[in-house]
């Protein structure tokens, strides 16, 4: 069953137990953004600064966690025919909660994320985890899966957000990095920059994968 026994050390020990594997998978091997290419819209749209990226990642992870828990605990009660509709309703409920919570915490943040908080509803990542994992597994495993995927998603968003903010604005989380003479790459904050940054990250991942395959 376990095909990773050839990996030495710490991670191999962890991956021996199925739940640890469930958690780690989302972080790296099945990273939702870089490997599965799911939930692209927020990945590109709100990663113009590291702060937005982090907020979006956490909000998505929260919705993912809650909906996974609920879907998993209701998995024996939801009839098969209406499952997608039920999942979407569950997700939409938690997104509405998140939307109002963010507005209560910081109006400014709510403004800069705009409609994209509501659009978490249609993030394919959340629905795909509900359908592919939570509806077939125990609550405990679903929580681990959601945590892994959520953290992996946040990590990917941060990867993009940091690069775009450093190049486009010369700062990280709003702190300036460079002297005033630094010429900002305005294009990186613009939509086109999002496409380019993600393309380059995917390229890096492809190269890594290829190297690992050949060695």
């Amino acid at each position: 069953m376990n095909k990773h026994t050839d990996k030495p050390g710490f991670f191999a020990a962890l991956e021996d137990s199925p739940s640890a594997d469930t958690f780690l998978r989302g972080l790296w091997k099945d990273n939702p953004v870089f490997v599965q290419v799911l939930g692209m819209c927020p990945v590109l749209a709100v990663t113009n600064t590291a702060e937005n990226a982090l907020a979006m990642g956490l909000a998505t992870a929260f919705v993912l966690l809650m909906s996974n828990v609920l879907v998993s605990s209701l998995r024996h009660f939801i009839p098969k025919q209406v499952r997608i509709a039920s999942y979407i309703l569950i997700i939409a409920t938690f997104v509405t909660i998140t939307d109002y919570a963010i507005m209560a915490i910081s109006v400014e943040l709510h403004k800069s994320l705009g409609a994209f908080i509501s659009l978490i509803v249609v993030n394919c990542l959340i629905l795909s985890r509900a359908e592919a994992f939570a509806s077939k597994n125990t609550i405990g495993n679903s929580v681990l899966d959601a945590l892994g995927m959520g953290i992996g998603f946040t990590f990917a968003l941060l990867c993009l957000g940091v690069v775009r903010e450093v190049l486009g604005n010369g700062s990280v989380f709003g702190f300036g990095l460079f002297p005033d003479t630094f010429q900002e790459w305005i294009v990186m904050i613009l939509p086109a920059g999002g496409f380019f940054t993600l393309a380059i990250w995917l390229l890096l991942f492809n190269i890594l994968k290829q190297k690992r395959a050949t060695t």
Binding site: C41, A45, S118, V121, L127, P191, F196
Partner: protein, 193 residues
């Protein structure tokens, strides 16, 4: 709200703030079904159709929800309307053209989770558009989505014959093209006044 002409709304939604290339909405089908020109055109048509219907419904629902004082139900009711519209389109397509049904595959039911459609419903509410304005906005957004999809499908069909290094192939290449397209669409800024 400042008065906007219908023509401006259309140009704005389709070119200046293209849903795919400027707002990043509907990226999943954009990456998924843009391999072939023909499928891309039909996908664009299906999405435009769903957009038009759900735009009208969203307008009605929003007016109703504000009247009964339950705006927090907005998101849930929008998504239900969209899901049922998509179901309708799916049944229609399966009956009328099984070949198209197979070509669109999983991406047809996935229109439900196409952010472009929910985004449209949310934006038109945010901007306070009326019935006619919403319809024009939906038409523009659909046209813009189809345009972007067709453009990228054409480019990708060409690139099938190009010699591309192995690591760049696939999603990375599509994203690079999309980036360049997005750059060129920035040239439309300021159009329509």
């Amino acid at each position: 709200m400042k008065e906007e002409s219908l023509w401006y709304i259309f140009i704005n939604a389709s070119l200046i703030n293209n849903f795919v290339l400027a707002y990043f909405l509907g990226i999943c089908p954009f990456l998924g079904v843009s391999g072939k020109l023909e499928t891309a055109t039909k996908m664009g048509g299906a999405v435009t159709f769903v957009m038009l219907i759900s735009s009208v419904c969203a307008y009605g629902i929003n007016a109703f929800l504000i009247a009964v004082g339950a705006p927090f139900l907005q998101l849930i009711s929008f998504i239900v309307v969209i899901a049922s519209t998509v179901q309708l389109v799916e049944m229609f397509v399966r009956k009328m053209s099984p070949a198209l049904f197979r070509a669109l595959g999983i991406f047809l039911p996935l229109i439900t989770t196409n952010c472009a459609i929910l985004g449209l419903a949310l934006f038109q509410t945010q901007k306070g558009y009326g019935m006619v304005e919403s319809l024009v906005y939906a038409l523009g957004a659909g046209a813009g989505f189809t345009l972007a999809l067709v453009l990228i499908a054409g480019l990708r069909e060409r690139l099938d014959f190009a010699e591309v290094p192995g690591v760049v192939k696939g999603t990375a290449l599509t994203l690079l093209i999309a980036g360049i397209l997005s750059l060129s669409f920035m040239g439309f800024a300021g159009l329509g006044g």
